[in-house]
């Protein structure tokens, strides 16, 4: 019974961590998607600042997100954010919106494993 109690405690703790992580990932991805949706157009002088803020926000959360997400996914988001900043610097409108769409898609991919969906079964 002692081993069962320890196992149960371990399992409950793990479920707690999983649920906490799911909420955390959902919050991060929602913030990213919301920021990407309302990001100013590349012609707007505020655009570059917004992309840099977004990159700083993501960089701050990478160590925690990496605990549950696969490396290629987090690396892809970092890469796309760098591309988005570069497009904003150069005023590349077409490139900016293409990268933004790609980024939204990748962030969505990060969020989906933490939301219960039949797709993942």
């Amino acid at each position: 019974m002692k081993s069962f109690a320890i196992t149960l405690l371990l399992f409950v703790m793990m479920v707690g961590i999983i649920l906490g992580n799911a909420i955390y990932i959902k919050r991060i991805t929602s913030s990213l998607l919301e920021a990407l949706e309302f990001i100013p157009a590349p012609e707007d002088p505020a655009c570059l600042g917004s992309t840099r803020d977004l990159t700083a926000y993501w960089t701050h959360h990478i160590p925690f997100v990496s605990l549950s997400a696969c490396d290629p996914l987090t690396e892809r988001i970092s890469e796309l954010l760098a591309q988005l900043t570069a497009c904003a610097e150069q005023g590349d409108r077409y490139g900016f919106y293409t990268v933004r769409a790609s980024l939204c898609n990748t962030v969505e991919n990060l969020r989906q494993p933490e939301t219960l969906s039949w797709r993942f079964f």
Binding site: M1, S3, F4, T7, L8, L10, F11, M14, V15, I17, I18, L19, N21, A22, S66, L67, S68, A69, C70, D71, P72, P113, E114, T115, L116, S117, F120, F121
Partner: protein, 226 residues
């Protein structure tokens, strides 16, 4: 992580159904749940070791989930023995009173060749020598021979044999084993007395075993050992 948790639960359930349907022939000496856990753990544990891109959590979550399922299923089975029939197979009588139960053999998918081979391995040459054969839930065949083919034992011959006592390690690697001494109902003082009676010291010994009757067996250290 949430998806991994539910995927592990689902895979465990599917694997359980598959192994249960396979029957006891596939199980060997393990219970179904033990086998499932062994199969899954060996694969899961190696994932983050071989694949650097996967976070360690992708292996830790399934491992803890499997541990929980394994331990909790055994606890549930202790408290609800009626459920045991769902999890483990029941022993099946294949041969009774010297008569072969063909239906049982067919349902277990055991051929006559396999049955005869099993019986041969247990030291019998013909089915006619067997009174009863039972396929146990761990997949092993228990064979009970007819009385005339049974090996006589001491009781059959009216012999009284001395009681065999189990030896326990009471001293090993320079340490006296209190657990070993308590198992034979003796104390450390008793051990010291016995050794001094034999003019031996613990420093000169590698290992000492003893049984309940006080019988001692000593293994001296090799000369090169410090």
């Amino acid at each position: 992580m949430l998806t991994i948790l539910f995927r592990t639960l689902l895979i465990y359930l599917i694997l359980f159904v598959i192994l249960r349907l396979m029957g006891k022939r596939q199980i060997g000496e393990l219970e179904i749940t033990d086998l499932m856990t062994t199969l899954l753990l060996s694969e899961i544990a190696s994932l983050p070791i071989t694949n650097r891109e996967l976070p360690v959590s992708h292996a830790v979550i399934p491992m803890i989930t499997l541990l929980f399922l394994e331990v909790s299923s055994s606890v549930v089975l202790i408290h609800f023995p009626k459920l045991r029939g769902l999890v483990s197979a029941r022993p099946t009588v294949i041969l009774h009173g010297g008569k072969l139960r063909v239906g049982a053999l067919r349902s277990l998918r055991i051929s006559m060749d396999e049955l005869i081979s099993e019986i041969r391995q247990q030291g019998y040459t013909s089915l006619s020598q067997i009174d009863c054969a039972i396929l146990e839930k761990n997949g092993k065949l228990t064979v009970l021979p007819k009385a005339e083919y049974s090996t006589p034992n001491a009781a059959d011959m009216g012999l009284t044999l001395p009681k065999t006592a189990l030896m326990h390690i009471v001293f090993s690697n320079g340490t006296v084993s209190k657990e070993g001494l308590s198992l034979i109902g003796k104390s450390e003082d008793w051990l010291m007395r016995e050794l001094s009676r034999r003019q031996l010291s613990l420093d000169s010994l590698f290992c000492v075993t003893a049984d309940e009757s006080g019988e001692i067996y000593t293994i001296p250290k090799e000369k090169s050992e410090p």
